[in-house]
Symmetry: C2
Subunit: 510 residues, 2 copies
Amino acid sequence: MTQQRIRSGRQARQAERVGRPVAIGRPYIHRNIPTYDILSEENLLRIEAAADRILAETGIEFRDDPAALDHWRRAGAEVEGVRVRFPPGLLREVLRSAPAEFTQHSRNPANSVRIGGRNVVFSPAYGSPFVMDLDRGRRFGTLEDFRAFIKLAQASPNFHHSGGTICEPTDIPVNKRHLDMVMAHIELSDRPFMGSVTAEERSEDSIEMARILFGAEFTDRNCVILGNVNVNSPLVWDGTMTRSLRAYARANQAAVVVPFILGGAMGPVTNAGAIAQSLAETMAGCALTQLERPGAPVIFGNFLSSMSLRSGSPTFGTPEPAIGSMVIGQLARRLGLPLRCSGNFTTSKLPDAQAMTEGTMSMLAAIHCGANFILHAAGFLDGLLSMSYEKFMLDDDLCGALHSYLDGVQIDDNQLAVDAFAEVGPGNHFFGCSHTMANYQTAFWDSGLADNEPFEKWEAAGGLDAATRANRAWKKRLAEYEAPPLDAGIRDGLRDYIARAKEGVPDAWY
Amino acid sequence: MTQQRIRSGRQARQAERVGRPVAIGRPYIHRNIPTYDILSEENLLRIEAAADRILAETGIEFRDDPAALDHWRRAGAEVEGVRVRFPPGLLREVLRSAPAEFTQHSRNPANSVRIGGRNVVFSPAYGSPFVMDLDRGRRFGTLEDFRAFIKLAQASPNFHHSGGTICEPTDIPVNKRHLDMVMAHIELSDRPFMGSVTAEERSEDSIEMARILFGAEFTDRNCVILGNVNVNSPLVWDGTMTRSLRAYARANQAAVVVPFILGGAMGPVTNAGAIAQSLAETMAGCALTQLERPGAPVIFGNFLSSMSLRSGSPTFGTPEPAIGSMVIGQLARRLGLPLRCSGNFTTSKLPDAQAMTEGTMSMLAAIHCGANFILHAAGFLDGLLSMSYEKFMLDDDLCGALHSYLDGVQIDDNQLAVDAFAEVGPGNHFFGCSHTMANYQTAFWDSGLADNEPFEKWEAAGGLDAATRANRAWKKRLAEYEAPPLDAGIRDGLRDYIARAKEGVPDAWY
């Protein structure tokens, strides 16, 4: 697949400014800054050797999925009960068929994203049972909340992806909510999205709905939906996950393979060990997709976390996982796989200073490590237990800043501005000079949420903090939201599918 | 000078934990992660060529300092009135005598810092006329505030330097406050500090007080005080600054040479142009120290800032200056000079989400760009107009995290933990395993301010936000502060000096 032509960052922002308020930004970011390579070749080899030893000596259990065990037997792994041990080099050989880069198509072709290579895609947070806002506090998420977050993302120029289970719609039965979630993404957004993975048949439903939207043949040849599957760390793949992973791969759709390693609980307390474990677990999951269907797209994921030594609580947005992400990035590039890393993580229970200290450190780690698909880019609060409306808007703004960050520095005669110094001269200001007039509209990223006014002006306007401004901003955005048009035939087809899938099926609540 | 032996990060933190509450951390950080090199050799050469053209064609004005002009004439620059134009290569040649790395000594030798090379020193913010806290709001700073911030820094394990004009003590006359500020640093802290630069005689007073503390001969041979001098961008050096710069250099003390470039006002709106300007202005200032005294220590500084295109207000902690810092880091290393970059910048008027989003992006830029001396590491709020007690504590905590961040990843058999996987096995937890027990005390940085508790526990404890916790934390730290012992003879000598310096001098208030 060839790299599709996109507008440069400056051009895109210029275009946005002409037509404010902004409708849609760039479909994704093509990074213009290098990755941050933290470890030497020698040390990377030591981590890879440790992962190989874990895989060969301890191995990984694949539970409740005989077909997965059959795959491993045929591939040459040593299978003993549900334990699978991998001869060194086996997984890397299997992974050679996985694409380094692929397109996830959107129903609006202008919003299709390239995942892999130098491309970066921002997607909202995923999986919280609770939602929060400053008015109503913390409560269980509903389908109405779920739909609201899709609208907030769709109406922002700073995201590229609609996400998946943005929050759990707990007012809908567990065995039916995946249908409503996929429908909401399709109806309310025209960006790419993720399906369900919580049971094989729910994965199949999600993919089938994508087939209704994109056509069965197109779907078999192109990626149109992602499924985020988790390792049950340490070193266990549950059948629910591998069956879903295989369902996505079988349909030529991309699984995002993610160990969640809380150091000291689901992995060692030492960073290097957790990284080696993450590599081992992710390689095994990614390789399984290739055994199910060689050439299927797959994303190399990770989710490193640390622990408070005083309380035993998980911590997010701390330095060790940030540094760990940099290493994971190097390892993924050595495997030639698209990378999912970090996100905007925090344990704070409010959209406050702690939330954004931890979140910014975590997001910048994802940026520097070379992540291609950044899930949890917005809304994450409360150690992933709550999706916050205000945090979503703060993170959205940070995602906007990161577009400019990833554009890096342009070096050309206009940017270097040598002639402007001769024009302005020592001691004079650049306000009205011709270089400023020619460049000011595209020079700097302009936050929609930060208050840059002088103190007196800020105070006279009410002296609001960022969280309160974010509270006003999400309400305004929801009020102004307009759904992108959707073909009526497709909508009816999807509704019919959902009605049939739900009909006569008793509600299950866990 | 040889690199002094320091404890490794893990050892240091282990030592801290044994003796909680922590008294003193590491004297400075020796970075174990690479710098982030964002631009290619080719593009760096283009920026250097642009700086050379600015210096040769437009030149820089040196106002109200004939001695500086004499220096330039003797060095071979073209002097026309106060305008100085520099033949390409001249400044680089002059800068060859400046040390790449030096020690700033502290009255407590254990706290002396190495500036340059792979070393990183954190110092509080500098220069705000106002102070803020959540109880009393925004008000002019006083000597009491100034002393309070020194105490807060001294009592933290996360700083390495006492700073300089942490806030302006506006209750003391302008022409006398430098004496009280230097005295406060010496009495209340036993870390290195900065002197005044607001007039040549105040610089001389600051240095003279350092001589009383360290002895005249030691001071002539070693760096014991820093002076932070600003360019009057664009392309003007005022005599007040160059006279102070020369006073520090003459005494073999280190000037920190800092252009403040607000893009679109004091420099072009384009990042590459602002970087070229910064390089030109800083090289000229640093070179002047070498003409005054070859071999004097000097620090290559910069302060890039952007502008809100909607309001014309300065913005801080935005992506363009962060990216610009990375380039400046590469340029400083190519010159072989110690680097000061960024800090914890923001325009927020509260210690809120905006403050820490901007601050964290800005601080991480300083970390990645390889800055050796990070001024403004804590307390900066309100576009540098206010020093905030709560922000100081939040930033202090981030500085703690950055110690671990800069330690990077250790790769050895213990850290890789391969045997622990065999011990624990798939599906089991690592809580009590021998590897966890052997490593948990030193595994993760532990925030003193973040709340990592479950929501219910956090709520039951009052549901406080980070700013409120920071408010309690600074009061507790101030209440528990103990001054480090100071030799009574030195104290009396300093008091005598101050009394004589103030005697019979009328107060000046501007």
